[in-house]
Symmetry: C2
Subunit: 86 residues, 2 copies
């Protein structure tokens, strides 16, 4: 299995942006506070990342499909937290 | 100037995720509070979106180039806020 160098770049980008959501989710789980996080950000990021996922599927772009699937799961969790913890 | 339907999807995704950062930035500007926002999220999102931008350039993907350029500017602003307002 070989990857073009652009694929490596895409997967690296995907790993970084996806992993970036982990400390945010963990911070909320620890503090149970979401006051400074915008609800509109959480809602629109969920919708937007889902659209990027569909775009990745349309373009058959593996880095985008992988990263946006996992990011969506984490963003959905953050949105649930935002709705639950004020 | 014509766009494939996948391009329209990509631009829509880009508009939504980019605009999602605006209410977050505005919220911080209004409240001057960033306590519930993860610093690690802010740092890694800046790095990650920059990598997505490079990936978009490598793939010559206009939706990715446009969205990630503007997103990076907004995320950089949010990072500055995060470092300034605790």
């Amino acid at each position: 299995m070989e990857f073009a160098s652009s694929e490596v770049l895409g997967f690296t980008a995907g790993i970084v942006t996806t992993l970036s959501l982990l400390p945010q989710a963990l911070k909320i789980m620890t503090t149970r506070r979401t006051r400074d996080i915008s609800l509109l950000w959480a809602i629109s990021m969920n919708i937007g990342i889902l659209l990027w996922l569909f775009y990745g599927i349309a373009k058959n772009d593996m880095p985008m499909i992988t990263a946006n699937s996992i990011s969506f799961a984490l963003l959905f969790l953050i949105l649930i937290f935002k709705l639950r913890f004020r």
